[in-house]
């Protein structure tokens, strides 16, 4: 029994352990905080890469906590989707917090820095746990940790907006958690199981006996996870929360946290509920239409924003719509596109938020109309921002194009070209709000604070360059990531 066999649980537990160590370190060994945080997430990254290698070579496997067999013990399911998601979370999380080590210094008070790392590590742990777990109640526990930690990293910046936004998020996501718990109870009531595999086995048998229970649980899951994933029209908390939080928090919230709930939704819909049910209930159509509304209306709201981070937050609402569009179309390419967009959008959006954060750090302004000529004075963040913008519009050679390619082909595969048109129209809408910023940034005359920005620390620049090269790399060579994505889509659809 070597340590690598326990990587699934260690990826979560090490993060939790370090989370509780942080306040202590802050008290006695302040300078150890940053390396410890980076080390912990780095360890999870290594663990997830190792798991990925394992899954890609020998196939998915189960990890049993304390060797307790499933109906009693908690199980982690290390399948294609899970390793893909853990890898996304750890890579992006590592880059974001590396950036944050500098950015947070100017956004937060010094005495809360340790707590920030605690919350951040808790958040990472809960996200990884959520995607790995194979147990409904265990998932609920991670959902709760995730919600609390998210609120924490918003409200840690003690400004009025942050507290207000965090409070709103807290209340809404508590209601959402309530829905989840109720849904889990409904399922437990009829199946007597909490383990995904066992529930999936039991559901077809009880489907005819207790149809209402199952349908109600479906609706509750949709609302509960919908509100946490900010699926339109349940997105109301997101713009405030993501725009007021410190930039690294915004990046990780927009880039990762809302996606994790989407992954939970994917797991529930494709792994737990029987496919016959999905054929009978219009759940996929509901998701599709909500996603369509999210894509169009999220972009429409983003067009009229003048606050850079608020605009990005509204754009996230539109982008989560893409993911759900891929989920709802029920075709292999579309699901691939949706899952791929989780990764691609995690890179693009965290890059956009981080570059916005760098611009705010250096100039102190967050109004889009003030950012004329910033491309000349602050080239790195602005080029990163432009790359992100192009990826959002879906220009070829950026990774955004690849996800749109798969989503559109998927929608044609199931004979619904309308959704392909939606994707293209939304690309144009994205262009309407992203391109003027890029144009202004490069072809305007810098004024005021924009003309003489503070120099950016190395950490910020390095993170932006890393993410930016990721956008291009995965745009030109998408096969690097598509291997695991297509396996994940196939295994979810039962084609493997």
């Amino acid at each position: 029994m070597s340590i690598v066999n326990h990587f699934p649980v260690l990826a979560v537990v090490v993060l939790l352990l370090f989370a509780y160590l942080m306040p202590l370190l802050m008290r006695w060994r302040k300078e150890w905080c940053v390396p410890a945080t980076l080390g912990a997430i780095g360890f999870s990254l290594i663990a997830s890469l190792y798991m990925m290698w394992q899954v890609m070579t020998t196939g998915p496997f189960m990890y049993q906590m304390g060797s307790w067999a499933p109906p009693w013990g908690i199980e982690f399911s290390i399948d294609y989707l899970a390793v893909f998601a853990t890898m996304t979370i750890t890579i992006v999380g590592l880059i974001v917090i590396y950036y944050g080590t500098q950015d947070l210094l100017h956004e937060l008070k010094e005495q809360v820095m340790g707590w920030y790392y605690t919350l951040y590590l808790l958040l990472m742990a809960s996200m990884i746990g959520m995607v790995l777990t194979n147990d409904l109640f265990n998932m609920f526990v991670f959902v709760e940790i995730c919600a609390i930690a998210s609120c924490g990293i918003i409200s840690i910046k003690e400004s009025r907006e942050c507290i207000e936004a965090a409070f709103k998020y807290l209340v809404l996501s508590a209601v959402g958690s309530g829905c989840l718990l109720l849904a889990i109870a409904m399922i437990y009531m009829v199946t007597g199981h909490l383990n995904f595999t066992y529930v999936a086995q039991a559901l077809p048998q009880v489907m005819d006996l207790y149809p209402l229970n199952i349908l109600v649980s479906l609706a509750l899951f949709l609302v509960g996870l919908g509100v946490k994933a900010a699926l339109f029209p349940l997105h109301v908390w997101l713009p405030d929360a993501h725009s007021s939080a410190p930039s690294p928090s915004s990046a990780v919230l927009s880039g990762l946290v809302i996606k994790v709930y989407a992954i939970a939704m994917i797991k529930l819909l494709y792994k737990v509920y029987p496919p016959e049910l999905l054929g009978m209930a219009p759940i996929m159509n509901m998701i599709l239409w909500m996603a369509t509304l999210a894509i169009i209306i999220g972009s429409m709201f983003a067009i009229v924003q003048d606050d850079i981070k608020k605009m990005l937050a509204y754009s996230s609402i539109a982008q989560i719509g893409y993911v759900f569009l891929g989920v709802g179309l029920m075709s292999e390419s579309a699901l691939q596109g949706g899952i791929l967009h989780i990764f691609n959008h995690a890179i693009m959006k965290s890059m956009l938020f981080l570059s916005a954060g760098a611009i705010i750090y250096a100039t102190g302004t967050r109004k889009l109309s003030d950012l004329k000529g910033i491309g000349i004075t602050l080239p790195v963040p602005t080029i990163a921002f432009s790359l992100g913008a192009f990826a959002m519009v879906g220009i070829p050679i950026t990774n955004g194009f690849i996800s749109k390619w798969y989503l559109a082909l998927g929608s044609l595969d199931v004979g619904r070209p309308f959704f392909a048109a939606v994707i293209l129209v939304s690309s144009l809408l994205n262009g309407i709000y992203y391109l003027p910023i890029v144009v202004n940034a490069f072809f305007g005359e810098p004024e005021g604070a924009v003309a003489e920005p503070r120099p950016l620390p190395r950490q910020m620049v390095v993170s932006l360059i890393l993410l930016g090269s990721g956008v291009i790399l995965f745009g030109v060579f998408p096969s690097l990531i598509l291997g695991v994505v297509s396996k994940a889509a196939q295994s979810l659809l039962g084609l493997l």
Partner: protein
């Protein structure tokens, strides 16, 4: 060229794998990086390096020539971008690539003089060269996917060139251009998606059978492609970006964009209409052929409209660059018409239209680039090319005036110059379309074609008269009009080419245009017939004469009616009639949607506030009634106590002690009661105050909301005024929303689920 030779060309199917097309595309991109480095570290080598890059690129493109004579050159990168990049050069690609690289070389040389005084030259050269790479990529790519990739890149890199001056008008022109470009790209992408989904390949090859077998309706897919390429081409009514962009861009950019970027659109159009949507067995009567034929008919008319619209716009303009820009629209109409004829007549007789449009593409690249360089040469000194102000340049720059006259004769179709040949072939084509296509309306189209040619002469006469004749402005008199020898020799070179093509039309026709028909499904007999077409016959030579007379009459009438200086009202433009309302409608919808959303929330909020305050009032009244009850119960208790006391004292003295204790107790209760009373009163008052406060807050919020709602109604205020707060601040509402959604979901799920 004999019939047998033409057939032989059609039969070349050899494929050669070579990196040459890839190198030709990548070299200018690499060169742009070098220029960037030179701009940063060694500024004096910058322009020389740019010219050198363009020169080597031209050489590389020419090196493809021996290969395409034998067959098709291909190269495939399988692993890039999942679909793979596919490079392919046949003779048509080579022709376009050579045209682009050649025009670029001359324009880059021209730019070294023209751009000397401009700001941010490094950026200009970098993007000039990268645009060359992207343009070459468009024509050297072997499938629609790679073509689309380079097409998009071209849109973005050319944007930077257009807005080089960064003036407000330039940015505005660029904005229109880039949005239309992106929209066109998306339309193209939709077409590509549909094609790929149905056929499973995006190769540039005859696919009509497979397309029909996949159940794709060409009436849906082809228009998507036409819009995508038509925007780049300046096809009416998608031309609106073009005049503005041309007015604002520097002259070298004008030269290359009319010589190359417009042609990239035409290239795409040719590939889609006369290649992809043709049957794989030449001349086969497949189901879709009829549909494609009708689309060809429509394109002939779109071409005619574009022609006339461009010419009319050109007549009405006063800025020399804008006249030339509108003239480009008009000339692209000719090319479009030729493509339309080729599509309409198809396998049997289409070669004439194909050859005509290809020939005109070559010619237009030559004379339009030359004309823009001439106007640019004048601009360098006058810094203005408004022909109502800058006049009398004949005396100042005689060489430019002479070359201008040559180019004028070329574009006007005077026999002996290059435009004559292509226009004659196009005229043959439209006559053929009428004759063989059995469409009576095309007779009328032919007349309009002649009219458009006459109008070309008219607006160029206006331009020449305005720019070169008349009296110079006093401030121009003092300036020295020394044209650089570089520009002079470029203009002479261009005039030489115009004359040479005009005098030896067969060379271009047989060596460049006809071989390009290889790989396209045209009847070899028809191709051979086109190769032997005689443009010096009387019925062709008389056409320019008719055009000339018509132009003279038209000029006199227009001059008499002062139509040249007539400013058409703004509402007459396509932009005003269609695009502006569209964008306005879009933004209004955006904002109105937000505003009504806002108002709805506002109302919900108000309602919930009212309900809350009503509830508070109710609670207060409930409170006071409880108060009353307490008071009453207190007095009742007192009475009882009194009675008890009396009873107590009268009945038993022994219990006096306990009685006094009881009294004490009672007193205490009473006091407690009073205190409670007070507290209740107070709390009631507080509650009342709270209610008032809530109401006040409600009112204030209400005001704020109303105000924001009002603001959101005024459009631009909303857009640029202050950050929007379309966000729901009220938790009640959010929870309500969640409950609502949950209810909705439950309803849908339970109502619509059909259990087996």
């Amino acid at each position: 060229m004999s019939f047998a030779a033409a057939q032989e060309i059609n039969a070349t199917t050899e494929t050669i794998t070579s990196l040459l097309p890839v190198v030709a595309v990548l070299f200018p991109l690499a060169g742009s990086v070098l220029v960037l480095l030179a701009g940063l570290y060694a500024e004096k080598f910058r322009s020389a390096l740019a010219v050198l890059t363009a020169l080597v690129t031209f050489g590389l493109v020419l090196a493809i020539y021996p290969l395409v004579q034998h067959g098709t050159v291909i190269y495939h990168f399988a692993d890039v971008m999942e679909y793979g990049l596919f490079f392919r050069a046949d003779f048509l690609s080579f022709l376009f690539a050579a045209l682009f690289a050649g025009s670029w070389l001359l324009a880059t040389i021209y730019a070294t003089v023209y751009m000397k005084k401009e700001a941010s030259q490094t950026r200009f050269y970098v993007f000039l060269l990268s645009t060359l790479g992207h343009c070459l990529g468009v024509v050297l790519s072997g499938d629609l996917f790679s073509l689309f990739l380079f097409f998009e890149l071209m849109t973005f890199s050319s944007y930077v060139l257009v807005i080089h001056r960064q003036t407000e008008q330039a940015i505005r022109a660029g904005t229109i251009m880039i949005y239309m470009g992106v929209a066109g790209g998306l339309s193209l992408l939709m077409g590509i998606f549909m094609l790929y989904w149905g056929v499973g390949t995006l190769e540039l090859a005859p696919l009509l059978e497979e397309i029909m077998a996949a159940g794709i309706n060409p009436l849906v897919v082809i228009p998507l492609f036409i819009v995508g390429f038509g925007i780049k081409m300046g096809m009416a009514p998608l031309h609106i970006w073009l005049p503005r962009a041309y007015e604002e861009a520097p002259s070298p950019v004008n030269a290359i964009s009319s010589a190359a970027m417009l042609k990239a659109g035409a290239y795409g159009m040719i590939r889609i209409l006369t290649m992809v949507f043709t049957p794989a067995t030449p001349g086969a009567a497949v189901a879709g052929v009829e549909i494609v034929k009708y689309i060809g008919f429509a394109i002939i008319w779109v071409g005619i409209i574009t022609m006339l619209l461009g010419a009319t716009l050109a007549i009405l303009q006063n800025n020399a660059k804008r006249i030339l820009g509108c003239s480009s629209i008009s000339q692209m109409g000719y090319i479009l018409m030729g493509i339309g004829v080729a599509t309409f007549l198809g396998y049997e007789k289409g070669a004439m239209g194909f050859a005509g449009s290809l020939y005109h593409i070559i010619n237009h690249s030559v004379f339009k680039a030359a004309l823009f360089m001439m106007v640019g040469a004048i601009y360098l000194t006058t810094l203005n090319v408004d022909i109502t102000k800058v006049r009398g340049m004949f005396k100042k720059v005689p060489l430019v005036a002479v070359t201008f006259l040559i180019a004028y004769a070329g574009i006007g179709g005077i026999p002996g110059l290059n435009g004559y040949v292509s226009k004659t072939i196009l005229h043959h084509a439209i006559v053929d379309a009428h004759k063989y296509g059995h469409a009576q309306s095309l007779l009328f189209a032919e007349k309009l074609f002649v009219l458009a040619s006459a109008m070309t002469l008219v607006y160029f006469a206006k331009l020449f008269e305005g720019l070169f004749l008349g009296r110079t402005r006093p401030e121009d008199d003092e300036k020295s009009f020394k044209v650089s020898w570089v520009i002079k020799s470029l203009l002479i070179l261009y005039s030489g080419i115009i004359l040479a093509i005009g005098v030896f039309p067969e060379f271009v026709l047989n060596r460049l245009v006809i071989p390009a028909a290889a790989g396209f499904s045209f009847d070899p007999k028809n191709v051979a017939y086109v190769a032997h077409v005689n443009v010096w016959a009387w019925q062709d030579l008389k056409e320019p004469l008719i055009v000339f007379i018509l132009a003279a009459v038209l000029y006199l009438i227009l001059d008499h009616a002062r139509a040249f200086t007539w400013k058409p009202p703004e509402w007459l433009s396509v932009e005003f009639m269609f695009y502006l309302p569209l964008t306005r409608f879009f933004f209004q919808t955006c904002c109105r949607f937000g505003a009504s959303f806002d108002t709805a929330i506002n109302q919900t909020y108000m309602k919930s506030g009212k309900v809350a305050s009503a509830m508070c009032t109710y609670i207060t009244s409930f409170d006071s009634s409880i108060n009353d009850a307490y008071e009453k119960s207190g007095s009742v208790a007192r009475k009882i106590v009194n009675q008890t006391e009396r009873f107590d004292s009268s009945i038993n003295d022994a219990y006096e002690k306990s009685g006094s204790v009881a009294r004490n107790f009672v007193n205490q209760t009473e006091r407690f009661d009073d205190a409670l009373n007070d507290a209740y009163e107070k709390s009631g008052r507080t509650a009342k105050r709270l209610v008032n406060k809530t109401a006040e807050l409600d009112g204030a919020l209400d005001d704020a909301y109303e105000q924001s709602g009002y603001r959101s109604r005024s459009l631009w205020d909303r857009m640029r005024g202050r950050p929007s707060d379309w966000n729901i601040k009220n938790l009640n509402f959010d929870s309500l929303l969640m409950a609502l959604m949950l209810g909705l979901f439950l309803f849908i799920l339970i109502y619509y689920t059909k259990f087996a």
